[in-house]
Symmetry: C2
Subunit: 385 residues, 2 copies
């Protein structure tokens, strides 16, 4: 396979975008990425999106987005892997460029979640869980992650305060990201006194419902300098893995096996390990998720994730900053876009472009995104060339 | 890229499968393909499916199907391209094997459509059209294809009888396919006197609502003989293309630009042309669709598609048999599975395994599947090695 670079990224302001439709926000992000890359055409496109059928009554996003981006008749493929859709879409752009099938590939992600009511949104998201064994019982995603949190507390002594520290950290980071949905700080007291959603998860332990899109332009590494004068970022590792879709069938509900597996594959391909990373964008759909993810990525030992945010290890300026973008927690979580937005942050960090939230001297970073309670995961590793 | 072979295929009996859930029918087809291929593991999987969120309240099919097929933690990706989902999934399996990323890849397709009522099914399928400009006006897919049919009649003199001949032919073929949903013949009189759905399309001009799945196993051509003693079928061409999602924005509503483009790419890659084909599996979701498709594939001149079934050109024993499997019309149309089921027929035909509906001496064939009114298309060309 050919080496693959990312030469452009784009993301619009996330939030409740009542005045824009799904196609509008996708095209906005795609055009930003195209402009950033300096390309005059694209050869192929991927659209990561979880459940636009339920959110806005629209499938067939390959055709729709190619049409509205005015790039027909190029191949355009919609990838769905629940909340990991964007990360899995990136992997397929990586494979397509690597294979030689296409040179310039746009990988976008999008979700328009705010056009439905809260109950409908909860239902739409629940389709990432096992419909016949989980949803049928009435469980929702806050409920499933609450089970994971309780298990983690039971096995490892993790505390509610440690969960809250993840939210405080990511909002600290997000307060420096003008594109974030909630670019403000929260205090530990605010998190711990916020309304309980599913014990032990409070509202400020949860990522929000968001409209948003993000996009990246990939090309063969050897062509990258033809298009851009900016520093080139290479994708040096890609891992994708699955786990059981239902939480109750796993040996340890608080261990993310698919993340561990995808990371193993990506580390091996990249020839780096956790100690080589300068920053990580991880899937903090709930505070407990970040805790479990950093363990599965090997950033901390198993069971030690709860202490990481509390101790400052994963904060900007700490040993391994996690979610400097604000993460899903503060930046927002338009599920299909999240995996691509992680790449936007990563590329801008590795180029040194993000201002006050810059990780100084960042050269190597990792993104991790997962679907459902971790039934699917994509991990990518990036290096500034 | 490496050369890619198909070494196993599988498909179960299609129909209204009340006693089985979506995961059951997918796993059945996947196991048949694995057994047919003689492999003891798979490295990666694709699941083509259009809108399981709306049909059965379940997304995240990569994780679900990997789980129920007991192949976690391999990468598993759900591909959506409306009714072309299966064909686009095949293309991604082809790219992944070709790239060297994986050796043995299972490409499956599935749709469980009969668990909802007719109105809900019509709504679910309408999400393949432009929600904001088409569905909002109340138009459904029979209505959209009826517009295409009227345009074709107006421009080219195509008749209602010619449409009906497509149905008669495909049911003739389907009567020889024991896995078909409707394995029986229909007469021209029966088609022409069947209930009108959307003028000029009658119920027997329409493909049915179906539960079904299909699967294929891909591997590098050079490894194929390690696994199977059966004749090896190579994928020699792959094309994927898009068109505007909405019908009204095309220059000619009866011309399938994405099919023409995908075919052009696939022919070029394969080094063959329409005259080299021994058989074609085409997307006859409505009788008019087959007429438009065979024109866009270059099997007949533009405007001449109506005469093809009438004259016997596209029947078994004719110059270029189209839809010897029975097509979507008689075999059924579980939308996400259709593109993969075409491959099942193609591989079994090229191996010479299908009994009375065998195209004698078939060596080279083409499959074409499309989403919506042709907003996305995948075309593949196959050769018996």
């Amino acid at each position: 396979m050919r080496d693959v670079a990312i030469i452009g990224v784009g993301m619009n302001k996330w939030g409740e975008l009542w005045e824009k439709s799904m196609r509008d926000i996708y095209v906005e992000a795609a055009l930003l990425a195209i402009e950033d890359a300096g390309v005059d055409h694209i050869d192929s496109m991927y659209v990561g999106c979880m459940t636009s059928g339920l959110f806005v009554g629209q499938e067939h996003l390959g055709s729709l987005m190619a049409d509205y981006l005015n790039v027909t008749p190029i191949p355009a493929t919609r990838i769905e892997s629940a909340c990991a859709s964007g990360g899995v879409a990136l992997r397929h752009g990586f494979i397509e460029v690597g294979s030689g099938m296409s040179d310039i590939v746009l990988v976008g992600g999008v979700e328009k979640m705010c056009d439905v009511g809260g109950g409908e949104a909860t239902y739409a998201l629940s389709t990432a869980a096992d419909q016949e064994y989980e949803c049928y019982q009435g469980v929702t995603f806050p409920g499933l992650y609450a089970l994971m949190a309780h298990r983690h507390m039971h096995l490892h002594g993790t505390t509610q305060e440690q969960l809250a520290h993840v939210a405080v950290k990511n909002h600290d980071h997000g307060s420096m990201n003008p594109l974030a949905q909630y670019p403000f700080k929260v205090t530990l007291e605010q998190v711990l006194s916020s309304v309980m959603i599913a014990d032990p998860l409070r509202i400020l332990d949860c990522s929000p419902i968001t409209d948003g899109a993000a996009a990246a332009i990939l090309c063969p590494l050897e062509m990258a300098k033809k298009f851009t004068k900016k520093p080139v970022v290479q994708i040096i590792g890609s891992g994708q893995a699955t786990d059981t879709i239902a939480l109750h069938t796993r040996e340890d509900m608080s261990w993310l096996g698919a993340t561990a597996r995808a990371a193993e594959v990506a580390y091996k391909m990249a020839g780096v390990g956790p100690d080589d990373l300068d920053l990580v964008e991880a899937h903090d759909c709930f505070t407990i998720a970040e805790i479990c993810v950093i363990e599965a990525l090997g950033l901390v030992d198993r069971g030690q994730g709860g202490k990481a945010a509390e101790s400052g290890l994963t904060a900007l300026g700490g040993k391994i900053p996690v979610n400097v973008s604000g993460g899903l927690k503060a930046k927002g979580h338009p599920v299909g876009a999240t995996g691509v937005a992680q790449v936007v942050e990563m590329v801008e960090q590795l180029r040194g472009e993000v201002g006050e939230r810059q990780v100084e001297g960042a050269r190597v970073g990792l993104t991790q995104t997962m679907g459902g309670t971790g039934g699917s995961t994509a991990v990518h590793i990036f290096r500034r060339v």
